[in-house]
Amino acid sequence: MAEIWRGTWVVAYREILRFVSERSRILSSFAMPLLFLVIFGAGFTNVIGTLAPGVNFIQFMYPGIIAMTVLTSSLFAGISVVWDREFGFLKEILVAPIGRTGIVLGKAIGATFVALLQALIMLVLAPILGVSLSPGLVAGLIPLVVVISLGLSGLGILIASFMTSQQGFQILIQILIFPLIFLAGVFFPVNAVPLWMEVISKINPLTYGVDAIRQLFLGSNVGLGVAVFGHTMTIVEEVIVVGGLSAILLGGAIIAFNRQE
């Protein structure tokens, strides 16, 4: 047990150290979300008008973009596993007396820390977009992002444990990331789309992560929440869905990693 803890923190420590020393990665991880926010925001806000009383399109999209930042950052965390394998450092980690479970948890926690940092930096945009922030909102956002990010970095590591090249990993994640984002209610409310899309979106667990963050920002009474079989999901229910999935994905990553030679 002590070995798992030590493994967790030592691997997480290195992930964070690496992130801090790679400034280009910090900047590039904001490129996509900002692009969506600026282009889609400028393009659609006037066309769409208000989605609910006091909520225009860009204000609707903004919490979704924060979720998207977390998703991208967490999923790509798996690349550090592939990177380590390609450059040999994985051997140094695997042969250390720290246990595979600790390695997976450390990678996931390191990625979560990075994702959380990015989500918090995104908050700088709130005043510009006319979204009001409160200490309670930030305090609620942190655990939400942690739960979402742990699960998605688990998925990233799970995929990475089967991949040997960075290019392969990147292509696979890109293929995965767009449907996940587009069908998670980041850009439009999932209740007002064609049925097939609504069904897929409501199966996509990320939808509940996006909606939980949105409820935090816009309040739960704006009438844009995700309804499942006529029941509008509350934040707590959504956290349970996402948390359950996170546990499964992390568990899967731990099993996959332990099986490898």
Partner: protein, 325 residues
């Protein structure tokens, strides 16, 4: 007590039998070499001993711990230097060592002093803050040796520690290794395909195609080839050859105007020979057999030929394995 004990250890990759039932023991404080061509099974063996690869059959223990069932204990007992670099290029030399210290639970009280001691030993203390990606191949290898020693291992495993390095750096790395054996009671297990390097070892196992074909001290292996070669010339070689036959009961050979014959220990034989040989000697020399000769005698082929075979075997093996799936 034996630091490393290996009993009928085997490892198969599909159809390919990389290691076929090897057995050997390495005593505490010994410098033990695994010599063989590429693809002979050296790295597979070292990976099994280091718990990176599960054996197909057989047992092995390091520092008294079983490599299958006491992996953590084995890992704490050993230091490792891999064939390919395994340092994190985006961290500094110091950060790499600190990561290692945390991972191996080196007490914080001695950590910084130990890092300084080892970086000084491998002459990288001045570069401790430098990013490893700016290091040369030799510097990276030296950093890895320092890292492998950081947690005071009982045994140090080095997989081809000097592969791809220039002669000067090779010499340097050997100086560290010989110094370590001298000053700390460290067991060193290394693999190499360089015959001249293997001569530094206390004992050598020669491995070819997954099997140990000889295991002895370098001198022991050489005397198995037939001992040292005495080469001399006189005014009348025919007569001298007859004299050798009569005096020492061996069959000399005549080659390029010299007379050659084997003796078991040339260094004690030679002074005696020079003093008592009746013919007038024009030249005399003693040639010690090299491990090249040993390898050739034991396997019937040179170490380079074997490499080609191994590559072919790997290709075939891999092909069959893929089809088998």
């Amino acid at each position: 007590m034996s630091m490393i004990e290996v009993r009928s250890l085997s490892r198969h990759f599909g159809q390919l039998q990389a290691v076929k039932g090897v057995s050997f023991e390495v005593a505490e404080g010994e410098l033990f070499g695994f010599l063989g061509p590429n693809g002979a099974g050296k790295t597979t063996t070292i990976n099994m001993l280091c718990t990176l690869l599960r054996p197909t059959s057989g047992t092995a223990s390091v520092n008294g711990f079983d490599v299958m069932h006491q992996r953590s204990e084995v890992r704490r007992s050993i230091g490792l230097v891999f064939q390919q670099p395994t340092v994190d290029e985006y961290l500094s030399a110091e950060q790499n060592l600190r990561f290692h210290a945390y991972a191996y639970n080196v007490p914080s009280g001695i950590r910084e002093a130990r890092i300084r001691e080892l970086l000084t030993m491998v002459e990288l203390w001045d570069r401790r803050k430098g990013s490893v990606r700016t290091f040369s191949g030799g510097m990276k290898r030296r950093l890895e040796i320092a890292r492998g020693l950081l947690h005071h291992p009982r045994a140090l495993f080095l997989d081809e520690p000097t592969l791809g390095l220039d002669p000067q750096t090779r010499r340097h790395i050997w100086d560290y290794l010989l110094e370590l054996r001298e000053h700390e009671n460290l067991t060193i297990f290394l693999t190499t395909q360089y015959l001249d390097e293997a001569e530094n070892c206390g004992r050598i196992a020669i491995i070819d195609r997954g099997t140990i074909i000889a295991l002895d001290s370098p001198d022991g292996l050489k005397s198995a080839v037939g001992g040292d070669l005495i080469v001399f010339s006189t005014a009348d070689d025919e007569k001298a050859a007859a004299e050798v036959r009569a005096r020492y009961g061996v069959e000399p050979s005549l080659q390029n105007g010299t007379v050659r014959f084997h003796v078991t220990s040339g260094d004690t034989f030679l002074p005696e020979f020079v003093r008592t040989f009746p013919e007038h000697l024009l030249s005399v020399s003693l040639q010690r057999p090299t491990l090249d000769d040993v390898f050739l005698t034991l396997t019937g082929h040179e170490i380079r030929d074997s490499e080609l075979d191994a590559r072919e075997m790997l290709l075939h093996g891999a092909g069959r394995w893929r089809m088998g799936r």
